[in-house]
Amino acid sequence: MKIIISNASQKPIYTQISEQIKNQIISGDLDQGDPLPSIRKLAQELQISVITTKRAYEELDKEGFIDTVGGKGCFVAMQNKELLREKKMKMVEDKMLEAVSEAKLLGIELKELKEMLTLLYKEEE
């Protein structure tokens, strides 16, 4: 598991942690059933507070990415493939939504935005 924390980021530290773990689960770097370091162990290694780490794990637990087993610790939850795909779709949607609202602010019309998207999509291929 890899986690990099930035002090300069506007995002709170617990979000930085939960997002990075989430991405590693979605990308398959972390497999279902894989154990996560204990809250206190992770806090020690990242040299951040226990509450912050706890909060990151709570968030992941709430969203169904990890299971907390009392007395044993936290594990990557069983992910059903479709659910995972849906979650990834949701991430794409969110990013697009961001792009749309930025575009609206700048007064870019839908047609123009579509063209931009098509161009970017093709460039990636």
Partner: protein
């Protein structure tokens, strides 16, 4: 939640300074940072917990027990670091340690020697020959050598170089692996705290401004900057203090989310650091 230290309506009067009936708890298993400007009452508070000075009124419970009735039992479980370490000047460090060790049932000589080595402290040197930084390190070394359940440190990082400050933070987070341990440390170098502290208690003029989880503070407090004088027309929610310059205004609020929705788009808002908070609270006072 279990508390390692419970403080209720604690009052201490000095000439020219009063600790005004403060109450707060230190949850067991966590790190609390005690911050505030010089003369705010940080050291007084820590000395009161240790019963080094007498309180006027109020109650302090450590590990659930009255701190005076069970003084020696409680103290044997506390590791304490003073802001200015005082030990016998003319005695070698190893002899100081062996004089102190019998007071602690859980003294661990091997751990002590290991720490002395880690901190590069010479066992055969006399205390008076040490630099300020080394004295501080020695004091820490003693405090950490008896498996204390509560570690109280008054300005432990003052006078230490950045490399050692980092080492100390590493040591602290290592200790906190054990959920039975609790830590309170005071400092005015707040950057030391911003990552490791679970809770922050801010004290100012003998009063507690807040005592809450650091995450909440960093999330709710913020600074609004604008060219215009926002205070003219809008009531800023959670206003704590502000600073006007020729070029605009900076406002500290304890409710940045609501404030953000009220202010115009030509102003920007930023996260507040603990230092900002300390500074603006001092400012807010002079406006009042």
């Amino acid at each position: 939640m279990e508390h390692a230290v419970q403080i209720e309506n604690l009052r201490k009067e000095f000439k020219g300074f009063t600790l005004k009936d403060v109450s707060f708890n230190i949850p067991k298993g966590y790190v609390m940072g005690l911050i505030g400007p010089n003369g705010a009452g940080k050291t007084t508070l820590i000395k009161l917990i240790m019963n080094l000075i007498r309180k006027n009124s109020g109650q302090i419970r450590v590990f659930g027990k009255d701190h005076i009735q069970h003084e020696s039992e409680i103290k044997s479980r506390i590791g304490f670091v003073y802001d200015i370490p005082h030990f016998y000047e003319d005695i070698k460090l190893k002899s100081t340690a062996s004089a102190i060790a019998p007071f602690y049932p859980k003294w661990d000589q091997d751990l002590f020697l290991k720490l002395m080595n880690e901190f590069s402290l010479p066992l055969d040197k006399k205390f008076k020959k040490l630099s300020h930084g080394m004295k501080m390190k020695f004091s820490l070394c003693l405090a950490l050598s008896h498996d204390a359940d509560l570690i109280l440190m008054d300005e432990p990082t003052s006078g230490l170089d950045p490399v050692f400050r980092q080492e100390l933070l590493e040591k602290m987070s290592q200790i906190m692996l054990d959920e039975e341990k609790t830590m309170l440390f005071s400092t005015h170098i707040t950057s030391d705290l911003e990552r490791i502290a679970d809770y922050i208690t801010l004290i100012h003029n003998g009063e507690i401004i807040f005592s809450s989880p650091l995450d909440n503070i960093l999330q709710n407090w913020g600074i609004v900057k604008s060219e215009k004088d926002l205070l003219d027309k809008t009531e800023i929610p959670g206003l704590v203090g502000y600073e006007k310059t020729n070029y605009g205004i900076e406002i500290l609020t304890s409710d940045i989310k609501t404030a953000q929705t009220l202010i115009s788009s030509d102003s920007i808002s930023e996260k507040a650091t603990l230092e900002d908070i300390m500074y603006f609270i001092k400012k807010g006072e002079t406006h009042a």
